[in-house]
């Protein structure tokens, strides 16, 4: 049927029979396009795809690196923080110990000072008392002799005698005082 139709439509041409020029130029077109794609377009496309894959992989690697770096940094900071905390605790402890020590020292010093002041005061009082006793003894002795000379009318210029009298008087005075003190 096809042949009949084709014969009717075109007695001279059969579209199923290839003509030589048709084949030659068709093959040539094919070869040109094949080499064009093979040698130029597809290698470029492949290169691009490789580059793109590499870029994506590179970015992933970069991100990984950044992540690990950040993690390391965080660890370092945490370590530093912990160190700083322990350091601070140590310093606080030290300060507390130092404070206690200083307080104790100060207390001791104050006690010593107080003791020294007390001792000084006592020594001074003693010295003054001694001085008073000596001066009293001298003055009371001369006064008493003057008085007694006046009363007795005799001159107690003899020192030996006078001294003996004064000593006796004073001894009596002290004895009476002691008696009065004990009776009291």
């Amino acid at each position: 049927m096809l042949h009949a139709v084709l014969r009717a439509a075109a007695a001279t041409h059969n579209p199923l029979l290839p003509a030589l020029p048709d084949l030659i130029w068709g093959a040539l077109c094919f070869i040109v396009i094949l080499f064009f794609f093979w040698k130029r377009v597809l290698p470029r496309m492949q290169k691009l795809l490789d580059e793109r894959a590499e870029a994506i992989e590179g970015n992933i690697a970069k991100a990984d690196e950044a992540q690990s770096k950040a993690e390391a940094l965080l660890e370092e900071y945490t370590a530093q923080l912990a160190e700083a905390r322990s350091e601070a605790a140590k310093i606080r402890e030290q300060a507390r110990a130092d404070g206690a020590k200083i307080l104790a020292e100060l207390k001791e010093q104050a006690t010593l000072e107080a003791a020294r002041v007390t001792a000084n005061a006592q020594a001074q009082i003693e010295a003054e008392r001694q001085a008073a006793v000596v001066s009293l003894r001298t003055e009371v002795g001369s006064l008493a002799i003057d008085l007694a000379s006046g009363v007795v009318g005799e001159t107690l210029t003899d020192d030996k005698k006078a001294q003996a009298i004064v000593d006796r008087f004073l001894a009596e005075l002290e004895a009476s005082e002691a008696k009065a003190g004990s009776s009291k």
Binding site: P21, G26, A27, K47, L48
Partner: protein, 281 residues
């Protein structure tokens, strides 16, 4: 596989019948397109094997357009593509991912990618010249290009099979697994005819007939429009509106067919290669 050429031959004869019918009903004043459409007069090198006619010139134009598009599209490729590069990449990726890698896997897909890409884009560009104003005929509507491509596809799948393992290739092709041995008496000749004789014929005819019929239909619609508008008597001129509408619709349809046939040709080539290198069916 067997039905395909028959179907297309039927399509062609229907179309031709239609034309003849149309041509005879309006009293001889309207002449429809004939098969001579595909055999225009020779322009250069008449009488040599290198005769060039209008259709071959159109093929050159299509090759030039293809080279230009892909040259510009891949001239300076960026990691982040520009708009033009995206389109070219999309086209190349379509063949690479949807045809080559899908059917052949990464390794074989890459091996046969240049061939599959060439087949797809060559058929596509040659088909599209059928709807481009002033070219108006498909570069694939004459048997040369479909036949060359079919022979290349045929040679390639045989080469791929023999390179991989000759014994396995012929065993898989001629003695399909899971068939009782006595059935091989029937199955093997059928498989032989279908694999080694019909495959290139169907590849050729499917593309050729689609393009021939597409072109004839478009010529018919537009010459009929011309005739109805300027030569038909009285109210028959109204039919011109109908024919021009059909012409427009079929132009769109031809674009679809152009893409589809390019895809089918490349896909079938990949399928044949895949069957040839397969371990087992």
């Amino acid at each position: 596989m067997l039905y395909a050429p028959k179907q297309e031959i039927a399509l062609l004869s229907n179309a031709v019948n239609l034309l003849v019918h149309t041509a005879t009903t309006d009293g001889g004043s309207f002449v429809g397109p004939s098969i001579d459409e595909f055999f225009p007069p020779v322009i250069f090198f008449a009488g040599t094997p290198f005769e060039i006619n209008r259709i071959i010139l159109i093929r050159f134009v299509a090759v030039a357009a293809l080279v230009l598009v892909f040259w510009l599209g891949t001239r300076s490729m960026k990691l982040i593509p520009t708009r033009g590069q995206s389109i070219v990449e999309m086209g190349l990726d379509f063949v690479r991912v949807n045809i080559a890698e899908d059917l052949l896997g990464k390794k074989d897909g890459r091996r046969f990618l240049p061939l599959l890409t060439t087949i797809f884009f060559m058929v596509l560009f040659f088909n599209l010249t059928g709807v481009i104003p002033f070219l108006n005929i498909q570069g694939t509507s004459v048997i040369g290009v479909p036949l060359v491509l079919a022979v290349v596809a045929y040679g390639t799948f045989i080469y791929a099979g023999i390179k991989k393992s000759p014994a396995k290739f012929f065993k898989n092709a001629l003695f399909p697994a899971g068939v009782p041995w006595f059935l091989y008496i029937i199955v093997t000749p059928i498989e032989f005819i279908s694999a080694f004789i019909l495959r290139p014929i169907t590849l050729t005819l499917r593309l050729l007939m689609n393009m021939v019929v597409g072109h004839l239909l478009l010529v018919l619609f537009f010459t009929a429009t011309q005739w109805f508008l300027f030569e038909a008597p009285g109210l028959f001129k109204v039919f011109g509106i109908g024919t021009v509408a059909f012409g427009f619709v079929f132009t769109l349809f031809e674009i679809l067919v152009a893409v589809l046939q390019a895809y089918v040709f490349a896909l079938l080539t990949a399928v044949y290669i895949q069957l040839a290198v397969a371990e087992e069916h």
